[in-house]
Amino acid sequence: MNSATKNRIIDRAFKWFGIACTLFGLVMLGIFLADIVGEGIGRIDWDFLSDGPSRKAEKAGILPALAGTLWVLGLTAIIAIPLGISAGIYLEEYGKKNRLASIIEVNIANLAGVPSIIYGLLGLEIFGRIMGMGGSLLAGSSTLALLILPIIIVATREAIKAVPRTIREASFGLGASKWQTIRMQVLPAASGGIVTGVILALSRAIGETAPLIVVGALAFIDSVPTSPGDDFTVLPIQIFNWVSRPQKAFLVNAAAGIVVLLAVTFVMNGIALYLRQRWQKKVKW
């Protein structure tokens, strides 16, 4: 066998190995979703969605956890969206050349790599102890808002960067001020990308478990929280709690909880993907 044939065989073999590796991840995903849905879907009924926690697995439900997750989603959005978009606008439109902006830029790259549990320690001390919020919804949401801030900032900057110079120049040419140009021209043109980034960041937030446990979210809450100062739990913590118990019936509950959590996550990711595609199609510079 000469070396040319040998090389061709290696090439062919690698192609199949590549296909196998690519499918490996997808097959795992498939096995995994099938297993979860198979275990959990039968457990989901109206009682499961509308009951509180219980020592008896078959009586336990996810209502307080689901309500907690929705509260956290809303509060985190209220805190993180204005901050993230403002910071993104500043870095892209104002702070191009100054030193502060370049420090902030390196800093954001670093923050994006900080493990989420460290944010939990930050929230525990700053929001929980010093600001006196304890283990409340507000403390948890503020912590998650800081966690997803880098994602929103980066997405905002990318979206603004994609708006061509000509649009800005035309606006300036008509006598608009810098802020008028940003508000009336740049932001509307970049809105698709920004919204997509925001949704992806929020979907990351509702899947987070560790930082909220550290901040002091509780595993056992039997009423729906009614204000941002209330104690709370979220779906991932409820799932963690059920997974940690030895009885099989609680594992079934965990699987059912996961189906609900994944449904929420996938719907959010789906919307983000749809918006991105629509935006890419519509906008042609």
């Binding site: 590549g18 670093n110 963690f240 994944l262």
Partner: protein
Amino acid sequence: MRKKEKVIEIILAAAAGITILTTIGIIWVLLSESVGFFSHVSVWDFLTDTQWTPLFADKHYGIMPLFSGTLLTTLIAIALALPVGLTVAVYLSEYAPRSFRAVIKPLLEILAAIPTVVYGYFALTVVTPFLQKIYPDLAGFNALSAGIVMGIMIIPLISSMSEDALYAVPKSLREASYGMGATRFQTAFKVLVPSASSGIIVSVILAISRAVGETMIVAIAAGQQPRLTFDPTVPIETITTYIVQVSMGDVARGTPEYQTIFAAGLTLFVFTLILNNISIRIKRRFQQKYE
């Protein structure tokens, strides 16, 4: 009008400044609580003691067992994710038809969107029982299963960033290699992977940093027993799991037990900070190279 413009700029700058405050806050919180901890426990004991038992009567404060647990699960995850992720990257960028790639990439990215508590469930209820069929002595909680599942989670991280790096290699290099009669395999591994190496290294460092900070998978599937070992079949505990374990219990504020989570957090933070800075530096050099 002028004034309003200036006020708006200041408001926007303040929002960007929050990120600096966050970093300062993290460092301050970790340091101030760790100072309290290190007034009880010497740095030497912390780094050299081989036992970690702050919650027992006979207290030892050696970080090594937690560090070895973190290292072990991370190594297993990278040992799986690096070869698979890099192969996927090369396959998708050099071999796969465009249409196939367009379908596969978003599907793989679903793996990265799944909450980690869900992966923990998967490791505990699917992967561990499966591995026990092959190797019956495997404990119910072990580093192996947690590491493997963590590896699956970070495959898309490595594959998608490495693919971007491969894609950024100038076309001329590819064409020169084909012109010399090289196969796709030779071109990929002798020309493209070396040219894209800094981008690939960055993706691996970020993957390591992600694995080191990963919490829920190990908390659920690897057990909560600090143990200085590299045996992947027995229960261990990672730095992150320990922080969760203490947070779930009722340890009084201000006690050395409470302060341990900040000392553990500081160790974790320093480790990931070093990794992130290496990757930021490599990335800068890499960008300059192609501009």
